[in-house]
Amino acid sequence: MSLGNLDLGNLDLGFLTVLAADAGGLVTSGFTSWAAWVILFTPLLVAFLVTAVPAIRKNNYLAAALSIGSVGLGLVLTLVVYFFPMLSEGGNVYEHIVSWVAIGDSALITFGTRMDALAVTMTLVVTGVGFAIFVFALGYMKGDESMGRFYGKFALFVFSMLGIVMSPNFFQTFIFWELVGVSSYLLIGYYWKKHSAGEAAKKAFMTNRVGDFGFLLGILMVWAAVGDATGAYGQGLYSAFDFTVIEKAIAGAGGLSELFWNNIGFAAIAAALIFCGAMGKSAQFPLHVWLPDAMEGPTPVSALMHAATMVAAGIYLVIRCNFIFAYAEWAPTLICWIGGITAFIAASMAITQNDIKKVLAYSTLSQLGYMTMALGAGAYTAAMFHLTTHAFFKALLFLCAGSVIHGCHHEQDMLKMGGIKKYMPSTHKTWVIGTLALCGIFPLAGFWSKDEILGAASSNTSIGMSATILWGVGTLVAFMTAFYMGRAWFMTFRGKYRGEHEPHESPKVMTIPLWILAIFSIFIGFVGVPGEGNLIEHFLHSWHVGGPAQFHMSVALISTIVAILGLVLAFKIYGKGTGKDPLPEKLGGLWTLWANLWYIDRFYLWLVRVVQQGIAKLCWWFERWVVIQGLFNATARGTRIVGEQVRQAHTGRLGSYVTSFVLGAVIVMILVLVQVKVGGGS
């Protein structure tokens, strides 16, 4: 096997210094190295206490307080121990790693925490947005008798998510990847008495499993290749799962493909397989189908997991191991296209939805498609920036939706709402802020981050014509985004109230988190204003591949104009808030296609019901008739038949015994004679 020009002598498999050399110091001891463990494990401890100790589980408010406290502690510790020092001193890397699975003397798999600029940013998003949502849930879940159970699972999710964020190696990422999947499964199925909730939970888990199938294979491919090249598996102290080891091995060999049997496409396949994991978790086409159904969970869950953080895990993963994707032949192009396709089809589906949460769910898909597009274009900082801003305004929108649903007595159908502006002024104002931020209206958060992505997509010269097409798709999606968000806004908040029970404004415990998130949605974009003062780029500079982001005046102008056009069009059609939707007639066949979700869900249902069940039935048929009847029962029957035949010999008549005796004697004599003859002949 060719190792390319990999210099084995330079590979340091001990504590790894590549990142540290780029970005300041590597801290492996002292409080700062293991404070991350506290941030990580406090939510798990709380989840365990809440679930296992009945006294805490049954005391709803104690359970809630403990959970909120654990997230708050994480937020404060991250800010104090990591964020501020990093901001002032530059990007240190704090890590604390222990051997977890060892065979003999060789550690195969390690476990630990690594806090660098990227991880700290993501931790802040998770704990910051999480804190607001945890508080909000106090009001939203009020009156739910099993609120303790809810908070226990919610804390478990925070633990799993932080585990992905702080993970220093692929194996640990995979562990928490699965745990996130399970906490998502448990929370989507929270209302387990509902048939649809059970189905949705199962669908989410299984779709993610399919993605994880690829993810694990991708990990295995990279692990084996890197392990071969460095001798790290089986022998080295630190495993070939470690991101830094992989990065160093790839850098040493001069590209991922050099680590495989030279250049027969394995590098791209490995990268694409790893991206499969991201595709599952971040719900990218064709594995996007679970996310809209996941709205069966309580709204705070949708806000935190299925909008702000968990679904961003895939994006985070690709940024985290961008060194794999950077030179992975056709993989980045594939990623670009998948992002573009997802952004477009999701936006088209969002237009046809009447359930307020579903609109937001498809919108989330669409925005994740944007981020994926940025990943494919190599604009990792832009993707991370959009991830951050999106986390705030999408969480805000979901919480607004939650507030509306709460106020309308658990009604989610926008056709039965209308005129809520009058009853819920705070919710309305924050919703408008969130909508404008999402549409990318200057100077709100979405404007800055979306512009960076569209700019990166248009200037991604490596993929030729596709860049222009993708930019066009992105701009079209910006228009559609503004349109469906406007549609939801006007249908819900304007006109006359069409429901039965009069809505009411939500309590302070819900509106205060709304306002906090709204303020962030306005101002968070300023950390990424292009130019000298670009904080996020400065902070994440070690993750930045390629030159700094450019401000694309034309791109920004066009996307803002189309966004405004979208809002205006939505106002023209829905501004009166009549509760009637003229769009189905106007769009005709297109509407049918979009409203049926491009028939993708039905196709999958067919796959599961017909193909999978067919194969299962076929296997059972084979089992029944070939293995059981053919192998086992036929042997048994054969034995019985032989037995019956042999029994015939025992007739009890002397004559037959004598006959067979004589026959036998004759045969023996012939055999002896033949043998003598043969023996004599030789």
Binding site: S99, W100, V101, A102, I103, G104, L108, F171, F174, I175, F176, E178, L179, V182, Y185, G189, W192, K193, K194, H195, A197, G198, E199, A201, K202, F205, M206, R209, V210, D212, F213, L216, L217, L220, W223, A224, G227, Y233, G234, Q612, Q613, I615, A616, K617, C619, W620, E623, V627, I628, L631, F632, A636
Partner: protein, 533 residues
């Protein structure tokens, strides 16, 4: 006193004592059974914890890298003219298997408290069965190994035949006969092979057998025989169909022992005897095992999907998961071997948990068909949570021992250079998806959604004694899931010698294959010459 002897005698003596106790006194019978199981468990725990530091009493291939240390060895001559002796001894792998058995019988005895008919006879059979299992895991003499093996099979016949049940899906008599016939058939097949080894070497002593190099030609003939004999117990495809049927008609505790321990007897025999004594043949045949285990994993999973009867689902899932054990063994890597043995342990605990829980509600509902159940979470939340945990563990959720062990198997299979295990590894990863399909369906259709009103009066496990077996089994899964080192460090000394010998044989085989034709013909003769024949 030798801990192995305590573990072996504890159920054996209890069996004898139970004969003397009046059968009407159910409480006393249960107390005796529980006491013996607890004693065995406590001793097994001490054995497991202390085996690393225990003094080495006998070593096979001493002084070489392949040295295989046995601890707590005791031997009593029995028929000296034939070289038979009663010899016990343990390495890390046996200690782990003994611990597994002890946990399961402990849980099984408590789960069986619900049995009301012929209690005394039931526990006599159960404890006799476990005596046999403990005996197999601790024997170092092939004769007694075989004796204990058969000792485990006979009570199984009675247990399923008398306390089992006929359902819509499986006929009890048929299942009982099939199970016993296949088990005995496999055992006889293995016995033929064992006798062949005996006639060649003149000893039943397993430590001695490990040091004797059996000629390659002989290995090539007898490895498949012994392997299939034991592997039909694993159960390897296509010899698996006795197992799900047996589960489906067995009472809860018997299902637990059957899936938890009996299957592992097969894998243990493959590792210790077939692979341990005949490394050269193992190096040749194991890649093909890698092919067969794909059928276990994928086909077993697909059949599980097609079933409605929960016990059949878990039964076929067991055969699917034991495919991972075979894959680990076929990979001939340390990671694969460790993963395989670890998974034997983890899977044993997990299935025992699942069967115990199915038994819990089957006793009350008398149906296990998923279409008849639903929404049981409402009336038995504790059992429901435990069941979901069992399913999640089985589906390979991190935090449980099954995840770590299955991943180790997959890593090992992938690490191996051979495509015979690399491609099955891909299917093994897909197997995780298939597992998810049938387990989540089971969870949803039994515990979620609406509950038919006739289940309104079902009872949950409430008293501490009712909860104990489930809590203990879950705790074991979680402990080893978070701290796999405890298991991996212990079993390593039992695995490494086997691994090294097969690896050496394989490397030597590769070299022989690479030699030019005339030299290759000469090579076996050289090998014979080295053995001094």
């Amino acid at each position: 006193m030798n801990p192995l002897l305590i573990i072996l005698l504890s159920p054996a003596i209890a069996t004898c004592v139970l004969f003397l106790v009046p059968g009407e006194n159910k409480k006393l019978v249960r107390a005796i059974a529980l006491a013996s199981a607890s004693l065995a468990l406590a001793t097994a725990l001490l054995l497991f914890v202390g085996i690393g530091d225990a003094p080495i009493s006998e070593t096979a291939n001493a002084g070489t890298p392949e040295a295989h240390h046995y601890k707590h060895v005791m031997s009593v001559p029995w028929v000296e003219s034939l070289g038979l002796q009663f010899k016990l001894g343990a390495d890390g792998v046996s200690a782990a298997m003994v611990l597994l058995t002890a946990f399961i019988i402990f849980a099984g005895v408590i789960v069986s408290f619900t049995i009301q008919t012929r209690v005394k006879e039931y526990y006599i059979c159960l404890l006799a069965l476990v005596t046999g299992v403990f005996g197999v895991f601790t024997s170092l003499d092939l004769f007694f190994y075989y004796f204990f093996y058969e000792l485990a099979v006979i009570p199984m016949f009675l247990l399923i035949g008398i306390w089992g049940s006929t359902t819509k899906t499986v006929d009890q008599q048929y299942a009982t006969m099939k199970l016993v016939l296949v088990l005995s058939g496999g055992a006889v097949l293995a016995l033929v092979g064992l006798l062949a080894l005996y006639t060649h070497s003149g000893t039943f002593d397993m430590v001695a057998l490990e040091q004797i190099t059996i000629p390659r030609d002989m290995q090539m003939i007898w490895f498949p025989v012994i392997f299939i004999g034991f592997a039909s117990l694993i159960p390897m495809w296509p010899f698996h169909s006795w197992s799900p049927a047996g589960h489906a008609s067995a009472p809860a505790a018997v299902s637990m022992l059957h899936a938890g321990v009996l299957m592992k007897l097969g894998a243990f025999g493959v590792l210790r005897i077939a692979m341990g004594f005949m490394p050269e043949a193992a190096a040749v045949y194991l890649p093909w095992v890698g092919v067969l285990c794909c059928f276990n994993i994928v086909y077993g999973g697909m059949v599980a999907i097609s079933h409605q009867d929960l016990k059949l689902v878990i039964g076929y899932s067991s055969s699917s998961h034991m495919g991972y054990v075979l894959l680990g063994l076929a990979s001939v890597t340390m990671a694969g071997f460790s993963g395989a043995v670890f998974l034997m342990f983890a899977h044993g605990i997990m299935t025992a948990l699942a069967f115990a829980l199915i038994g819990w509600f089957y006793d009350q509902t008398h149906t296990r068909m998923m279409s008849d159940l639903g929404g049981l979470m409402r009336v038995m939340p504790f059992a429901g949570v435990c069941f979901i945990i069992a399913c999640m563990a089985s589906a390979g959720l991190p935090g449980f021992a099954n995840f770590t062990s299955e991943l180790l198997v997959i890593l090992g299979a992938w690490e191996s250079e051979s495509l015979f295990t690399k491609l099955p590894a891909v299917l093994a990863v897909w197997g995780l998806v298939i597992t998810g399909v049938y387990l989540l369906r089971a969870v949803k259709s039994v515990w979620y959604v609406d509950m038919p009103s006739r289940w309104e009066n079902l009872k949950d496990a409430v008293t501490p004694i009712q909860k104990t077996p489930y809590v203990v089994l879950i705790a074991v899964l979680v402990f080893f899931g978070f701290y796999p080192k405890a298991m991996l460090d212990t079993i390593e000394d039992g695995i490494r010698p086997v691994f090294l010998r097969i690896q050496d044989a394989r490397d030597a085989g590769d070299t022989a294959a690479a030699l030019p034709q005339p030299l290759r013909d000469a090579a076996p003769d050289d090998a014979d010459a080295r053995e001094g024949r």
